[in-house]
Amino acid sequence: MVAGVIQQLLDGLTLGVVYVLLAAGLSVIFGVMHVINFAHGELFALGAYFALALIAPFGGTAFFAALIVAPLIVGVIGVAIERYTVQPLYGRNPLYHILLTFGLVLVINDLIYLIWGPGASSLARPDVISGTVSVLGLGVGVYNVFIIVAGSLMAFGVWASLEYTRYGLIIRAGSQDRQMVRNLGINIDRYYSLVFGMGAALAAFAGIILAGTRQVNPEMGMSVIIPAFVIVVLGGLGSFKGAVAGGLLVGILQESILRPYFPFLEGMVIFLLMIGILLIRPQGLFGTEAPEDESGDLLTGSRGGFLDPQTRNRLGLAMILLLALVPLGAGTLYSTFIVTLMIEILIWGLFALSLDFIMGYTGLVSLGHALFYGLGAYVVAITIQDVTQSVIVAVALAIVISAAIAWFVGFLSIRVAGVYFAMITLAFAELFYNAIYRLDTIELFGEEREVTGGSEGIFGLDPFYGIAGIGVDLDSIGIFVGTTVLTGQLLFYYVALAALVVGFLLTRRMLQSPFGSVLKSIRENEQRATFLGYDTVVYKRRAFVISGALAGLSGGLYTLFTGRVFPDNAEWMVSGEVIVMVILGGMGTLYGPIIGSFTFFSLEHVLTGYTDRWRLVLGSIFVLFVIFLPRGLVSVPELLAPYLPGGPGPGPQTEPAPEDSSTGGGD
C-alpha cells in the first residue's frame, strides 16, 4: 500500500517536473513580452524529435549530447520565431499573438508530420539511467529519478540566472516597465529574442526527458499545451514561482491522485481549478497585479465599404440566388462532392459568423467556441438517438441549450477581461471536451443508456425533417427541378443555406437595432459606452448568448450533415480553426467570416489534392495574414483602392476564387 502510494507520488513528481520546465518558459515569455505562446507545445515536441534524430545514428550513449544539442537548436528556432513573427506584432492587441502562435502550431505540427511521419518512436536512452534501484526496499525507476534531478537542476539554473545575473535583472526590469529599460539605453528587443529562445530551449529539454519514458509522436505537443496553460494560469501568468508550484501541483494531482483514485474526474478537475482561479483570482496563485492589457485594438475590416447599401443588398441577394443554384449542377457540371464541400462551407460560415458576432463586435475573443459547436452537435445527436427523430425539436433544443450554457459561461466570465477571458473560455471548452469522454453511458432507471458514446461517438442517426409525423425524410424523397433530381445531401444543402441566410439576416438586423448600436460603441470604446450609461457587461453577455446559440445551431447542423458526432467536434482545434476563418475573412463584418470559411475549405480542398499536409500551407498563409493583413480579405478592396484608376473598387469578393465561384453571401 505504502509502496504504491510512493510510486504514484514519484510518477506525479516526474510529470510535475516536466510540466514545470514547460510552464516556466511559457510563463516567463508572457511575463516579459505579454505573449501567449500556443506554439510552446510544438517546440516541446521539436525537442524530442531533434533528440531522436541525433540519437538514432549513435544509440543511447548519445542521449546526453542530444540533451544539450537539441534544446540549443530549438532555442535558435525560438529566437527566429520571435524575431520574424512575434516582433512585428508588438504594440497590437495581445490577442494577435495568440492567433499568430496558433498559426505556428499548424505549421510546425505539419512539418513534424512531413519530416518524421505519423508513427510513434521511442527514444533510446543510455544504460546508466535505465533499470531500477532499490530505495528503502522499493524498486524505483532510475529514469524517474533522473528526470526529477535533471529537471530540478535545470529549473533551478534558470531561476538563478533570472534572479542573480545582469541579464536576469534586465529581463525582470523589462517585464515591469519596458519603456523605462529602453530609456536606460538597453536594447530590450534583443532580450526578448533571448527570452523566447530560452523558453523554447526549456520546452525542448522537457520534451526530451519526457520522451525518454514515453513515446515520441507528432501529437505530443498538442497533448501538453493545454495542461501547460492550466499550470501557467494557476500559478499566475508571468510568475516563475507560480509555474513551479503549478507544475508540481498539476503533475501530482493528475498522476498521484486522480488517475489512481478518481479516474472519472481525470482531465476535468484541472479545468475546474483553472476556471475557479480565473474567476476568484485572475492573477493566479503567485502572480502579482494582473498585467495591464496592452493598448491596441482588434483590427476589424468593417471599413471596406465602397458599395452603397443598395448595391450591397443587390449583391447579397445575387449571392444567395447563385448559392441556391449550386446543387442543380451537381453530377453534371461538377461532382456532387462540390455540394458536400459547400455544405461544410455554409455550416462553418454560420459558426464563424457566430464567433465574429462577439469577437468583431464586442472585442471578446473566445478560445472556446468549440464548446457551443460541440454542444449543439451532441444535443442534436442525443435527441435524435434517444428522444425523438424530429430534426425541428433536436435543432431547437440545440439552440436553446447552447444559449443557456452561453449565458452561464458569460455570466461567470465576461467581467474577466482580455487574455483571461480567452483562457476561461478555453477552460470551459476543455471541460466539456473531457466530459464527453466521461459521460459515455449513464444509469437511468436501472438501465444503462448510451449518452455520448465516449470516444466512439454517436452514429447511425436517422433524422426526420418535421415534427409529430408531419414532414419528410430527406433520404427517401426526391425533388425534380427540370430534369435534375435533388435527393439526400443535395436537399440538405438548402437546409444549411437557409440556416446561414437566416443567421446572417438576423444578426444584421440586430446590428441595426439599439442593441447593435451599443455593441458597436463597445467595440469602439467600451469605457465611453459605460459613461453614456450602458452596463456594457450586460450587452456583451447578451451578444455572447446569441453567439452561443448560433454556434450551437451550426454544430447541430453538422451532426445532421454527417449523420454522426464524436469528440473531435469539440476539441480545441475546432475553436482555433474557426478563429482562423474569422481572421482570414475579416473581423467586424458579417460577410467576412463567411468568406473566411469559403477560403479555408477551398484551400483545404485544393491543397489536399497535392499533399496531406495542407495545414502547413494554411498555417503559413494564416501567419502571413496575421502579420500583414490582419483585417482580412474584406479589407483588400480598401487597400487596393488607392492604386485603382478612378471609380469605386471591386466588391468585397476579391478572394482567389477556385473552381466554384460561389462564395457565401454579401452584406
Partner: protein, 264 residues
C-alpha cells in the same frame, strides 16, 4: 434656441456632496478626506498642481474608481456604491477629451447612442434586438434637437473620425448633453488647445450646458478665475483652500503652495 445666461446659484440646494472621501493606491493617498459641497447650477473649478488628485477625485465622483473610504451624495442620495453607468443614469455626466468620441460611427450615431441611453426604458429587450433604430421616434427627436443645438445637423452623417477639430469638440459636448446630465465633469477640456480654441470651447460649454451644474479641472488659472463661481484648490489629495475666485486668489496658503509655483 436663444442664448441664455447662467442663473445665479441658489444657496442651500446641494446637488453633490462628498464626505471624508479617501482613495489610496497602495501606500499612496491620492484623495485625502475631501469634503465637497456643490450647489445646483454652480460652476466649480478644481485646480491644483500635478498629482494633487484632481482626476482621481473625478474618477471617484463618476464611479470609475471605487472609494477607499467616505461617502458621495448626489441629489441627497448616497451613490457611493453605484456603478459608473448607474451614476450616469442619475445625472452625472462626464466629458472626455475629444479623441474619445466613437470614431468609427457617424455623428448622428454618436449622439443617438447617448439619447438611447436616456430613453432606454421605452423599449423592451426583444424589441431592442430587432426593431431598427430609426423606428424610435422620441430618441431620434432628441438626437435631432441636440445635433441642431450644437450645430452639427448638416454633417450628421459624417464619420466622427473625419471631423474637423472644432466639430469634434461640438460632438463631444453634444454627446454629453444628450445623456441629460444635471452635473457635468470636465477634465481639462481645453488641454493642448490654442488660446482661441480654448475660448471657443468654453463659450460652447457655457452656451450649451446652461442648465447644468459644471465641475471643471483646468490648468489655465486666468480662465478659471474668470469663469468659476467657486474654486477648490487641491494639494496632495487634500483641500488646500476653497471659495470665490477672489478669496482663493488672496489666500496666502494658495499663493505659497501653488500659485507662486505656477507663475514661473
Amino acid at each position: 434656441m436663444e442664448a441664455q445666461e447662467r442663473e445665479p446659484v441658489a444657496a442651500g440646494d446641494t446637488i453633490l456632496r462628498t464626505d471624508g472621501l479617501v482613495r489610496k493606491f497602495g501606500e499612496f493617498t491620492a484623495t485625502d478626506h475631501v469634503d465637497l459641497e456643490i450647489e445646483r447650477g454652480e460652476f466649480r473649478s478644481i485646480i491644483g498642481p500635478n498629482g494633487a488628485g484632481k482626476t482621481t477625485l473625478f474618477n471617484l465622483i463618476s464611479g470609475a474608481l471605487p472609494v477607499t473610504d467616505g461617502t458621495i451624495y448626489f441629489d441627497g442620495e448616497d451613490i457611493t456604491g453605484l456603478s459608473p453607468q448607474q451614476r450616469v443614469r442619475r445625472g452625472i455626466g462626464r466629458s472626455f477629451q475629444i479623441s474619445n468620441v466613437f470614431g468609427g460611427l457617424s455623428v448622428r450615431e454618436n449622439v443617438r447612442l447617448a439619447a438611447q441611453s436616456v430613453h432606454r426604458d421605452e423599449y423592451n429587450i426583444v424589441e431592442s434586438l430587432f426593431k431598427t433604430t430609426d423606428k424610435y421616434e422620441r430618441m431620434n427627436e432628441r438626437t435631432d434637437r441636440i445635433l441642431e443645438r450644437v450645430g452639427l445637423d448638416d454633417i450628421a452623417e459624417e464619420e466622427a473620425d473625419v471631423l474637423a477639430y472644432g466639430d469634434r469638440r461640438r460632438l463631444e459636448i453634444g454627446v454629453v448633453l444628450a445623456t441629460d446630465p444635471d452635473l457635468v465633469l470636465f477634465d481639462e477640456p481645453t488641454a493642448g488647445m490654442s488660446v482661441e480654441e480654448t475660448q471657443g470651447t468654453i463659450d460652447l460649454i457655457e452656451d450649451v450646458l446652461v442648465d447644468q451644474t459644471l465641475m471643471l479641472i483646468e490648468h489655465d488659472i486666468e480662465l478659471v478665475m474668470e469663469l468659476s463661481d467657486n474654486i477648490t484648490v487641491l494639494n496632495r489629495g487634500e483641500i488646500l483652500a476653497e471659495g470665490t475666485p477672489e478669496e482663493v486668489a488672496n489666500n496666502q496658503a494658495v499663493q505659497d503652495a501653488y500659485l507662486g509655483g505656477m507663475v514661473e
